[in-house]
Amino acid sequence: MTAGFHRVSAIIAADFRIRFRRASTAVIFVLLCIAAYLWIPDPSTGRALLQMNDQRALYNSPALAMATASLCSILLGFIGYYMVSNSIGRDTRTRTGFIIASTTVRNSEYLAGIFLGNAIFLSVVIFGFMLSCMAMQLIRGEGSLNVFSFFWHYSILLPPMVFFVSGVAVLFESIRWLSGRFGDLVYFFVWMFTLAVVAISSEKMGGVNITSYIDTFSFAFMLDQVKAITHSDSLSIGSSSYDQKLPPFVFGGLKVPLVWLLPRITSTIYPVVFVFAALFFFSRFNPVKVKASHGGFRRNLLSRLNSLIRPLTVPLFALSARFSARPGLVNAILNDALLTLQSYPLTVILFFGFLAATLISSRTGFQSQVLPALFVVLAMSLAGLAVRERRQGTMAMIQSVPFLKPNFIWWKLGTAMFIVLIFITAPLIRLAMFDLSAALSFLIGSVFVATCAVGLGIASSNPKTFMVLFLLFLYVVLNDNGHTPGFDFAGWYGVATPFVQVIYMALSAGMTALAWLSFRYQNEKF
């Protein structure tokens, strides 16, 4: 074993141990089991996982394996990034990066170790999901379990995604301005773009085309093969209703024809390019660059913009001095809200931008473009709010303030609501002028976002949890484009029913309860 190989394997082993001893990893496995349960519904309920022309597929191993692997590729292709993009950041935060930098580990070895660590972690998560799906086949009881079929479909469909996510995570973590929350947002668009490009090109061109060589989510390959096998374009994967009068069809499984061999191999290995690119940007924990990018937190593109804008917003923040001098929950809320805006002055400028857009945009543009953009900004502003103290190590100080410890949740919720209120007041008034029901949905949706930010933030002690789940939800809502009233959570399409509004109110209450219970549990450990 060469010295380099020994070092890389040590990095992978340490990374593996660190990740698999976290409680959050256990939570991920539980969620995957739940996902498998929900995605593979009992056909007697009128819903099925895989359908073609309203005809459901028999729950045999090839059908379940192909469908669940495809869903896993899309979902984990998104969430996976947020799960693994913290390895270099972890070494920076703990300052163990300085020790690593002072050893003979080469940059290429370190980045290779991180890349493979990411890939192994994702592979194990996928393996866990695959076991859950196998268990679901046993539970649903259609066709005998063929373990080999599961392994075959998972190995031909998922490695490109695993390497893509691992490679992009290493690259983004190595680039200063992409290593923070801005990078988290950028990945959302990268994911959407990658998915869309391959899906559109495979629909328009079909067969093996140029995008088949970067078919990260195996979408083009899977669609092409299903089409070749079943001679049908109509394929639906994911729990949905089917025609119970039609008999189930038997899906025999995917094969890899020779023409697809090279595209599959290229799709799997091209993300290694990201690791090579990362080598150019990786600073090897140089304190000058680490200071610039972390300086307490990360100095990315957003931070730079914030620094530029800060002088313009100074008069607004003179207010914070008034509130900080007076004790009391209301003043603490106002002070915390101003501190949040003070930390990100860009949001103040965006507020004025939204105000202008509210006044001048057309009704359609206002509802379907301005409001979703407003929610993206709100999500970014609120993501770190509830975890700020814990991550900065000021929790003990905050808890020593007499009224804040018992009221921490109300303090954070109050701050989130106050920030939301600043942003939504003008749009809410405009919306109410032409659609009262949509305005009510908008208000409920805003409260829902605020409670989600606080609830998920406190429960996971990580701002990424909220960001990831909210962006994923946003993707679904935008793709649904108002067809399903249940997804019109904030009145963007004006189709939410009173029942939907009640559901989102209930979910907001649930998030508040989650925040409260999590905080209580965490405090017991304190």
């Binding site: 082993a13 141990r17 703990t94 300085f98 930098a101």
Partner: protein, 289 residues
């Protein structure tokens, strides 16, 4: 062993962390003293090859470490300031990880190090449950695991209890017999007992360098003792450098650092290293003693 030639570190903001710093250190224990922001950590980071000098050169055993950092890295043990750990690893796993990164294959070494820092009984416990002092000892163990020829430790005794501090000082003193140890600290007593040479840094530059004896000699006649009433003490404490004050029935017994007699009736006394540090920081303009 280490030769630092006119090294400067300039940050993108234009400020200097270290400015025109030169020093030649053979072996032993070099104590690096200086107030916060003096540039000690920046200098140590340059010596540990974590960051590069903007100007100047650093040679280790006559090898330019900017050109060949690997040469130094394979012989280096480094403990950074405010060192953190991976909470989910056990002490043994943590050391095994850094041993692997440093190319140490001998598994016995891990147990030896854990014994050295008195953590062998908790080798299989996760570090998350360790006290600050225990984590610091683990950091010290990782710095020593590859038998370094150059050991750089930044504030290593912070968080250690008195017994552990003495134990650690002895470890450093032992290593300093044959190798070079560079130790930065605010705790003057740590340096006093083990340093063979001391460098005092001020605003990124070298304010003084020499053996403890030569630095102490330079402060002879500059340290004064006197007894003042509480009222007199309150009047002078703001304008004089007070290195010690003890309240007794006859008044406040003061140790003052000043080039000339600071108050009437003050008599000179033998300086200690703390007085010397104050003298070099506030009154001396010389670069090296």
């Amino acid at each position: 062993m280490i030769r630092i030639e006119s090294v400067s570190k300039r940050y993108p903001s234009g400020t200097y962390g270290v400015k025109d710093f030169s020093l030649n250190i053979p072996s032993g224990v070099l104590g690096l003293l200086g107030p916060n922001g003096a540039g000690k950590t920046t200098l140590m980071q340059m010596l540990a090859t974590i960051t590069r000098p903007t100007l100047g050169k650093i040679f280790f055993q006559n090898v330019d470490i900017d050109r060949d950092p690997e040469y130094l890295r394979s012989r280096l043990g480094y403990l950074p300031q405010d060192f953190g750990v991976y909470d989910n690893l056990t002490a043994a796993e943590f050391l095994r990880y850094f041993a692997a990164l440093k190319g140490v294959r001998d598994r016995k070494k891990i147990h030896e190090m854990l014994e050295l820092v008195n953590l062998h009984t908790v080798a299989n416990r996760t570090i998350g449950g360790f006290s600050g002092g225990m984590k610091q000892r683990l950091g010290i163990a990782q710095a020593l695991i590859n038998d370094p020829e150059l050991l750089i430790v930044d504030e290593p005794t912070a968080g250690l209890d008195p017994e552990e501090r003495v134990r650690f000082r002895n470890i450093l003193a032992d290593i300093g017999h044959s190798k070079l140890v560079i130790l930065s600290t605010h705790i003057v007593s740590d340096i006093e007992s083990i340093s063979t040479e001391i460098a005092i840094m001020k605003q990124g530059s070298l304010a003084a360098f020499g053996t403890p004896e030569t630095l102490l000699q330079a402060a002879i006649g500059k340290v004064w003792q006197c007894v003042l009433s509480s009222t007199e003490f309150e009047a002078v404490r703001g304008r004089l450098k007070v290195s010690g004050a003890i309240r007794r029935p006859d008044g406040v017994h003061l140790r003052l650092v000043h080039p000339e007699s600071p108050v009437a009736g003050a008599v000179t006394t033998e300086p200690n290293l703390e007085d010397t540090f104050l003298y070099w920081m506030n009154f001396s303009t010389g670069v090296a003693a």
